[in-house]
């Protein structure tokens, strides 16, 4: 019997199957009761509110968001680089001749990574009260931990022979890292780092729980009151800002790829971001948000072991965890599988353009909002949550894939296409296949993010850890909160172990088939 070998190309597309159960369940519950409201929502996109109070408030909001996003973005990239370095195997191999520390640190970093910034915000709020620094810290913690994972993985995947060759001749470890391992990281820092700016802009939504306002607060509040025209005012402003920042970064990246001295470029860019961050401090000060204020620590009685045991017995873990896993897997399937599938089916320039617009749109809509919109025309169940989470993350994956493909040369596609293959297959083999491995790696990171985000789609009444976490937080039941966040961390760790194992197997099976 012929053994089927699974290439990364196929593994990337197969998850798209998740869309079938999700869509069929949703169609099953489809009704037209909410069509009117849904129509109103989309109509409102064409006629956002121009009331001066709304615009003024949104403009103030976007300034706060940009300033905080810049600060948290810059700090989390630096934090991510440092944490990435100390959680990489190559670092510990070269300073201590052992990889164990790297593994321990990497596992520990799963905890900050597995908890959504909103939850971090709420937890930190308990101890420090309202303080803009805490808002920044709440974004910084999970973001730098995510970046650390990406950077550490990429650092460990580099060819280390050059590094050891240089160390071999007596070069100090620091200099060797800087000269040999840093340069090949530059494209990764610039692409993944650039994309994190958009995340930081969207992530700054959590400023709302610190009473700092921002565009996210506008979006959340107007959406909560179903004031769609006012909602679109903020959404469009956010879209415009995101789009222009993206353009700027793209222009810079094009410049970077043309430039002969990439390290100098990126260090200059780092310096520029540092200045921007400094400027943001003053900007916030002008906006009446005072970063430099006193710290005060407020105690919170720690739950005892006995409390934890009781809390453990109160919750239906199998149900909670099971639901969370199903939602995460379905959403991840949609997010990972659909972009390459669609791009394969419609790889013309116009098609790719349309898809790219759709993805930007999907990224703009926060999952709780899309969940509510979906709920308006179908009956509630966990598929709503999966689709809502899946759609936004699909936008992210599509973007990463498009950028990856654009940054590689088109020669393979031309070679395959010129041999008479259809455009679709030429895209699959020539454009996607060279990208598929890194795409899958990004897919694994995204699954992490989706798991965290299940904490914020409570609206669908599905069970799941996310909803329970919100419920426990709103009851101030700290033992339950502790246990649920621990469950999130455990799931993240298991997910990481599985993805590491399967990528190993993938490499192995490729080698044996050779």
């Amino acid at each position: 019997m012929k053994k089927v070998s699974l290439s990364p190309t196929i593994i990337s597309i197969i998850p798209a199957i998740a869309i079938i159960p999700v869509i069929s369940t949703l169609l099953n519950g489809l009704h037209n009761g909410g069509v009117q409201l849904l129509f109103k929502f989309f109509l409102a996109s064409l006629q956002p509110s121009f009331e001066s109070a709304v615009i003024q408030s949104a403009l103030r909001g976007i300034q706060i968001t940009i300033a905080i996003a810049l600060i948290s973005w810059a700090t989390s990239i630096i934090g991510g680089l440092l944490l990435g370095l100390i959680s990489s195997k190559i670092f510990w191999k070269s300073v201590a001749n052992s990889e164990y520390n790297a593994i321990i640190i990497k596992r520990l970093l799963a905890i900050p990574r597995s908890i959504h910034e909103l939850i971090w915000g709420l937890l930190l709020l308990q101890f420090f009260g309202i303080n803009p620094w805490i808002a920044i810290l709440a974004i910084f913690i999970p973001y730098s931990a995510i970046l650390a994972r990406v950077f550490a993985d990429q650092l460990d995947n580099l060819d280390h022979s050059k590094f050891f060759a240089v160390k071999q001749v007596g070069v100090q470890t620091g200099s060797a890292f800087l000269s040999v391992l840093f340069p090949p990281m530059i494209p990764i820092i610039s692409s993944y780092g650039g994309y994190r700016l958009e995340c930081a802009l969207r992530g700054a939504t959590i400023l709302g729980i610190f009473g700092m306002g921002g565009i996210g607060t506008e979006i959340q509040l107007t959406f909560q009151s179903l004031e769609f025209r006012e909602l679109w005012t903020s959404l469009w402003i956010l879209a415009a800002v995101t789009f222009s920042l993206e353009r700027l970064i793209n222009i810079w990246r094009k410049q970077l790829s043309k430039n002969n001295n990439q390290p100098r470029q990126i260090i200059t860019f780092g310096f520029a971001s540092f200045l921007l961050t400094l400027i943001s401090f003053f900007w916030l000060e002008k906006l009446d948000i005072h970063l430099f204020q006193g710290w005060e620590l407020h105690g919170l009685p720690l739950p005892t072991f006995f409390d934890l045991v009781i809390a453990f017995q109160e919750l239906n873990w199998i149900n909670l965890i099971g639901n969370t896993i199903v939602v995460t897997l379905l959403a991840a399937g949609i997010a990972i599988g659909i972009p390459p599938l669609l791009m394969m089916l419609w790889p013309t320039n116009f098609g790719l353009f349309c898809q790219s617009i759709t993805w930007s749109f999907l990224r703009l809509i926060p999952p709780p909002l899309s969940a509510l919109l979906l709920l308006l025309c179908t009956s509630p169940n966990i598929c709503v949550a999966s689709l809502a989470l899946g759609l936004q993350n699909l936008g992210v994956m599509g973007r990463l894939l498009k950028e990856g493909i654009e940054s590689q040369n088109n020669d393979q596609h031309i070679a395959i296409y010129s041999s008479g293959t259809s455009n679709n297959m030429a895209w699959l083999y020539g454009n996607f296949t060279p990208q598929s491995k890194s795409y899958l790696a990004y897919g694994a990171y995204r699954t992490d993010v989706i798991l965290r985000e299940t904490a914020i789609v409570g609206v669908v009444g599905g069970a799941g850890l996310g909803w329970q976490l919100q419920e426990s937080l709103s009851s101030f039941d700290w033992p339950q909160v502790v246990l649920i966040t621990a469950a999130y961390a455990a799931l993240t760790l298991i997910g990481e172990a599985i993805s590491a194992k399967s990528s190993q197997n993938l490499v192995k099976s490729r080698q044996t088939t050779k």
Partner: protein, 246 residues
């Protein structure tokens, strides 16, 4: 003559068979050693053991009277290696790569400066010129260079290290005849350079027996064993044939 490098009873094991078995070898200052052997005979392993990047399973390697792996940072600089895959940093420019050769003599700040492209080293320029590569290339990224040009950059980086012993792993494969001659002259220190100290002693592994006239001593490996070790002037053609026959 002073003993520079000594290998005593060196064994290295591969998966199924020993990659090096019982190698005893002494290299003295000023020797130019050609290392012959078929693919898989253990040449690369011997190179790796000699420069310290591979620790033998048994036996010892002595450098200037001390064990190879006990050298200080300063002493590590004394052995330079030209790797088969060159190991250039693709993302950096020609001068930045050549500067990496002298990195062990400088601080972290200097390394940072090199990354920014603000370091101008005289020895870097001389190394580049010694290899015959035009100055025009100095700011070009490695990625756009041809195979021969890369080889020269790697040699320039190696010269810029200013080591005592040069070890090269098949530096001449894939080179055209003119270039082969040029590079070999450089590696064997037959060209005088002003500022740069070129290693007096070298071990160079080769595929092409016709080049051994340039060396003072020839050693040959077969299935991981040292089967030939003699001065070039004493070499008989049957020695070489023995190495290459099955």
């Amino acid at each position: 003559m002073k003993k520079l490098l000594q290998l005593k009873g060196v064994y290295v094991y591969g998966k199924n068979y020993p990659r090096l078995s019982n190698i005893n070898l002494t290299i003295k200052i000023g020797e130019k050693v050609a290392l012959l052997g078929k693919s898989g005979a253990g040449k690369s392993t011997l190179v790796a053991v000699s420069n310290g990047s591979l620790k033998p399973a048994t036996g010892e390697v002595i450098w200037n009277g001390i064990p190879l792996n006990k050298r200080t940072h300063r002493q590590r600089r004394e052995i330079a290696t030209l790797w088969q895959d060159l190991r250039l940093v693709e993302e950096l420019s020609v001068d930045q790569n050549i500067n990496i050769g002298e990195l062990s003599r400088h601080s972290f700040l200097w390394a940072f400066g090199n990354l920014l492209g603000v370091i101008q080293s005289k020895t870097c320029l001389e190394s580049l010129e010694a290899t015959g590569l035009s100055r025009e290339f100095i700011k070009e990224p490695i990625q756009i260079l041809s195979g021969g040009q890369r080889q020269r950059v790697a040699v320039a980086r190696l010269l810029n290290q200013q080591a005592d012993l040069l070890i090269a792993d098949e530096p001449l494969s894939n080179l055209d005849p003119v270039l082969t001659y040029d590079i070999l002259q450089l590696l064997l220190n037959k060209k005088a350079l002003k500022m740069i100290k070129v290693p007096e002693t070298s071990i160079i592994s080769l595929h092409r027996p016709e080049l051994i006239v340039n060396f003072t001593r020839v050693i040959g490996l077969k299935n991981g064993e040292l089967v030939l070790d003699c001065l070039t002037k004493d070499l008989k053609s049957k020695h070489v044939e023995n190495i290459y026959e099955d």
